[in-house]
Subunit: 295 residues, 2 copies
């Protein structure tokens, strides 16, 4: 089974105003996840703020997370604007003991398909670890065609994809199309917590989850109900108040507030990303209370 | 007159595959511009690949450019994802002798108006230099409303704006609306070389120019014809073959090829941004020959 299959939990990365990572708190957040029934822990994804950290701090965060994860596999975000930086991160992830890497085609100038192909070729040649195409056009602004995805998968440059919800929300058709065109061992999974029940129901190989990084029990229950669709939908409906806030404010901004509300530690997104308003935080507290997460 | 008014020329930043800047070549490219009739030299804009360089290399590039520019004012791109990094770059630019800074609201997670306001507040408090809002939604993915622009200008947090072509290409109306709402000394200018004749004709205070960074004479002629509209349009029409390639491939990718064609030095965009194809380069050579730039 692919290292990318199953439920992957993405914790926040705690850092101070200058971007110095609090490795002790990082370790505690990861230990807490490692004790739960998640398949892997995803470090330095969008939730982990990878693009906002220096090379040195990314390395420190990953090393402390891998140490705290024990035998639980860690997948590491290695996206960067320069291919030479991506390869520095892939090599470091391999040396540090990551089980796989997540590579997003982060852009400033718009990227062509040829550019992105070269990025995955360079990353593939740099390491022996499996690579997941971290497809998130909302942050990378690269629109991955199914044609390019299949070409990279056929060439074995990638072993998995983390897709956002399909534009038409038709997970069944997208998974069926992919299944006929990629190698059998390829892992096709999704992010997008607020829509994830539909992806799970459609047979997604994995769930790359923001909520699981901070509220792992909720996500584990949902993922473990994947063979029982009525239970799955019942659990998902109960989370509607939370998903509604994810849609309004973005799951990542919400989760940075939740870490503090749970008393796990004080974490902030880097400025200029401001904390949510008092009003929004009150809504989050109400939503957490409604699902019995807060006392 | 604002330091941002007039023709600002944006050269490429020469760097090797690991992102180490060739400061000698950087100096020669800037000296060449300083000898021309441009109002300022814009270092580390999008053309200068600022987002692809490390903190140290950005500082080296700027210092060598300011030294080579002599008495010609240098404006420095200071955009970064973290406000703390932006403030490091603004302070460095001031210490190094820049005349002003260009600040783009670079994003990974989408930014709100409140986030961007905090970014410009932090930058303003960090230095005494004038600040230009580097508005380029094609790369930053932040859509600046005229309302927010006016609010920042009224508060004197910014002294200028570098706008992309208006969606409706109605430069006259946009400039007229702004003129009634911003302080008299505010400088409203444009990028977008292929459309710039319309902006100049409409009375834009400045032209932030990609082409001027490598082919300054063409841009100086165009800018200096701003009071003579028939001459302006005649000169602009002659450049149609070049503008057509800018539209097809992006002005920045074209200019990195032109530097080599002119024998100024070997420069490359950072991977994964690939060089243009042989076919595209032949088209560029034909376009340059048609405007008597190549022998």
């Amino acid at each position: 089974m692919s290292i990318f299959s199953g439920l992957s939990a993405f914790p926040v990365t705690p850092a101070d105003e200058q971007g110095i990572v609090d490795c002790d708190l990082m370790g505690r957040l990861v230990e807490r996840l490692a004790a739960r029934d998640v398949s892997s822990i995803g470090i330095l994804g969008s939730t982990g703020g990878y693009m906002y950290l220096s090379t040195q701090e990314r390395k420190r965060a990953l090393e402390s997370a891998i140490e705290a994860a024990g035998s639980k596999p860690v997948v590491a975000g290695v996206g960067a604007l320069r291919s030479s930086d991506v390869c520095e991160y892939t090599k470091h992830a391999e040396q540090a003991g990551a089980a796989g890497v997540l590579l997003a085609p982060v852009s400033y100038l718009p990227l062509t398909d040829a550019d992105v192909t070269s990025l995955f070729e360079d990353a593939y040649e740099s390491i022996g670890l499996p690579i997941c195409f971290y497809n998130n056009p909302g942050t990378t602004h690269f629109n991955l065609s199914e044609q390019l995805l299949v070409r990279l998968a056929e060439r074995k440059l990638i072993d998995a994809v983390k897709n956002p919800p399909p534009a038409d929300l038709d997970y069944d058709s997208q998974l069926a199309r992919l299944a006929t065109r990629v190698p059998a061992e390829f892992s096709a999974g999704y992010s997008g917590d607020a829509m994830i029940a539909s992806a799970i129901k459609a047979g997604s190989d994995s769930w790359y989850s923001v909520v699981a990084g901070t509220l792992p029990d909720l996500a584990v229950d949902l993922w473990n109900a994947r063979k029982d669709h009525s239970r799955l939908l019942e659990l998902d409906s109960a989370l509607d108040p939370l998903w509604s806030l994810f849609n309004d404010y973005g799951g990542i901004r919400v989760m940075y507030e939740v870490v503090g509300m749970l008393g796990l530690g004080s974490v902030k997104l880097p400025r200029p990303l401001l904390p949510l308003s008092t009003d929004a935080c009150e809504q989050i507290e109400l939503a957490l209370a409604s699902i019995n997460v807060l006392d």
